[in-house]
Amino acid sequence: MNFDDTPQEAAFRSEARAWIDANAPRELEAQLSRPSVGRVKLDGIDIITASKAWQKTKAAGGWACLHWPKEYGGRGASPIERVIWQQEEGVYDKLSGVFLIGQGMCGPTMMAYASEEQKRRYLPPLASGEEIWCQLFSEPSAGSDVAGLRTRAEKQGDEWVINGQKIWTSGAHYSDYGIVITRTDPTVPKHKGLTMFFLSMKTPGVEVRPIKQANGGQEFNEVYFTDVRIPDAQRLGAVNDGWNVSLTTLMNERLSIGARVWTGFSEIFAFCSDFMTENGPALDDRAVRSRLANWAVRHSGLKYTSYRSISALSRGERPGPENSIGKLVSGSMMQDIAAFALDLQGAAGALTDPELAEAAGQFQSMLLQSPSGRIAGGTDEILRNIVAERVLGLPGDIRVDKDMPFNQVPTRGRKS
């Protein structure tokens, strides 16, 4: 049991470190090091522009999409090398956020289902950040139940005509391409009538509208499809086999293990060390200490759980769905931490202006952001189901609609 690199890993790490030292945009380091909730904001430069510049530099140096084959713009690196890279990249990793979905989910799907010609056309610019991709899966009536989606694609000659609405599409407003899952046969059970495509976001009939979030932010979009026509060549996988294709996409999501764990613990510990109550630092208060200790062990537990996953990767094993616990634990923990930080601040805790609020208002932002941590990317309830079913082997929920033709599945509740 040790934290040491193998000789190969050490060699890779020092090569990566040297390259980063020589090439990283040092002028952004201070800004990127600030704690941030949700999307990162930079002063004086647009985050997309900054991200594309760094990604291009990495691609030129052979450090983009490390685990992809070289012919598609990657480096052919091992999973553990990817983790080492992430550790070395440090705060500059915040400049990868806008590429996450494209490179983490769309890319692998293209890799598995697109033609060789398409792969050579689309993957390298995806890897180098020249083109950004998004994923068009969720719909207003299909959230946790993604397979309940209603966006239709109808075959007309050699083309497909898509109509419907997607939602929660992260980055749709700055994306060049997207993969979209559609219903192509509503007369069969819901998982069986789906088909996957990719398309340019500039295709006529595609309209992107930002969603204003509960915290006032705008990170997601609605995307409307009105008679959008795309050639059959942009189909990914067989007709009506879209559910299986989407599983490829979603599986890949799980492979990206974060070497960093963000729970808000470091922030609340620092705050309680600094914040003066009438009786001295908050950290002297036994009630505060008890809360902090409980968060400390959860934070630490997640951190070392990820280390165990990295070790498994390092041995060449595939990390399992055990990793679902990260978000499950940190989601409600952040909500509790934020509420607790405000509690200590008393009435002044309600103030949100970063100039006036304690700790530059970070806990106020966290409070308003945190409900999404328990929802986006799988609700707590779905994650508990995943742990129960895939890790513990408990039975799935009873699926009343499993064998029902999709167009007979009820769409409204209350005795309908």
Binding site: Q213, A214, L342, G346, A348, A350, D353, I375, T379, G413
Partner: protein, 375 residues
């Protein structure tokens, strides 16, 4: 035993609910949220006209002369409707303080305006982050003029008068603190609205510089009066929180019945059912504790200090719990600006901090239970 509101009080509640459903609709709340105005002036006037603001103020001072139980049922409806008006500042705090500590002249001069809504009052207590404490008061009154900075003051930028806690002596003792009434339209008052968690309720910083200040209650007894005012406000606020919690629970329940996933209402999944059951449990405990507070408040019982702390803690927990999990039941839609869930979440968290936060009231409750047990 009748541990419930009377039929007339329930009728008053229904009346308030009907009125607020029409005049404090989500649309009206959102107009304030989106910054059209710092509060809903038309609604405020309407509430005054209905007699809701002065319901607990004696008739001789321009109120309806009903009582605090009547005020409790109205507070509950204010919470349920998220009424974007300075009700808690003006009624629970300023009006209660004057009713409790004012002399006859002050009551005659000030209560009619507060009861009708003509005047908006507030309490200017906090000066820095942390919970209510005499040691945190630095503002001073000397020679009848007040200087100091209060922040945050709820509804501070829209209020006409403030009850201000300030030091009347320089000894640094708790008994150096007195309460004063200050005209916020007067000279030396500088006010600034501050962004806060719940934009449907205003928060401000007020700087007082040599402002004329009128003593409220005996000099040197400011902190003990304030403690009693906060207890009374805690009970009233608890009803507002219970109303909010109930509505958040209802919203969650309704959505769980309507929303289909996996071919059935999400409310048929135990994860959702049990989440809602737990919300019901905390809302019910909070309601029962609020009733206990209402009884103590309306009868001026010796139990008021512990009943108020109990009601406050329970209601704060329930509203935060229900508002938070109402979003969770709604899933992604619950995290949109468009759905009303975040309005309740914002309000729940903002109300949790006003009057002192949970940890403050927990401490108060134990002190009070201990002294009762010792007695």
């Amino acid at each position: 035993m009748n541990f419930d509101f009377s039929e007339q009080q329930k009728q008053l509640r229904d009346e308030a609910r009907r009125y607020l459903a029409e005049h404090s609709s989500p649309k009206a709340v959102r107009a304030v949220l989106d910054g059209a105005a710092p509060f809903d002036r038309a609604l405020w006037k309407g509430l005054g006209g209905m007699g809701f603001l002065g319901v607990a103020v004696p008739e001789e001072f321009g109120g309806a002369g009903a009582g605090h139980l009547e005020l409790c049922v109205i507070a509950e409806e204010m919470g349920r409707a998220l009424a974007p008006v300075p009700f808690s500042s003006s009624i629970y705090l300023a009006t209660e303080a004057i009713m409790l500590a004012g002399d006859d002249d002050q009551k005659r001069r000030l209560l009619p305006g507060l009861a009708s809504g003509q005047t908006i009052g507030t309490l200017a207590l906090f000066e820095r982050p942390g919970n209510p404490s005499p040691r945190a008061i630095a503002a001073t009154v000397a020679g009848g003029v007040l200087s100091g900075t209060k922040v945050p003051v709820a509804d501070g930028a829209i209020a006409d008068l403030a009850v201000v806690a300030a030091r009347s002596g320089s000894g640094g003792r708790d008994t150096d603190i007195s309460l004063y009434i200050v005209d916020l339209a007067g000279k030396g008052v500088t006010r600034k609205t501050l962004a806060n968690l719940d934009p449907t309720r205003e928060q401000a910083e007020i700087v007082f510089q040599d402002c004329p200040a009128e003593l409220l209650g005996p000099a040197g007894e400011g902190w003990s009066i304030l403690t009693r005012v906060l207890d009374r406000a805690a009970v009233l606020m608890a009803f507002e929180q219970v109303g909010g919690a109930d509505r958040a629970l209802e919203m969650g329940r309704d959505y769980a019945l309507d929303r289909i996933a996996f071919g059935r209402p999400i409310g048929s999944f135990q994860a959702v059912k049990h989440m809602l059951a737990d919300m019901y449990v905390s809302a019910t405990l909070a309601r029962s504790n609020a009733y206990y507070g209402a009884w103590a408040l309306s009868t001026d019982a010796a139990e008021l200090p512990e009943a108020a702390a109990t009601a406050r803690i329970s209601a704060t927990q329930a509203f935060q719990h229900c508002a938070k999990n109402n979003i969770q039941v709604h899933g992604g839609m619950g995290f949109t600006w468009e759905f009303d869930c975040h309005l309740y979440y914002r309000r729940a968290n903002a109300l949790a901090l006003s009057l002192g936060s949970l940890s403050y009231w927990e401490d108060q409750l134990i002190d009070r239970l201990r002294s009762r047990n010792a007695a």
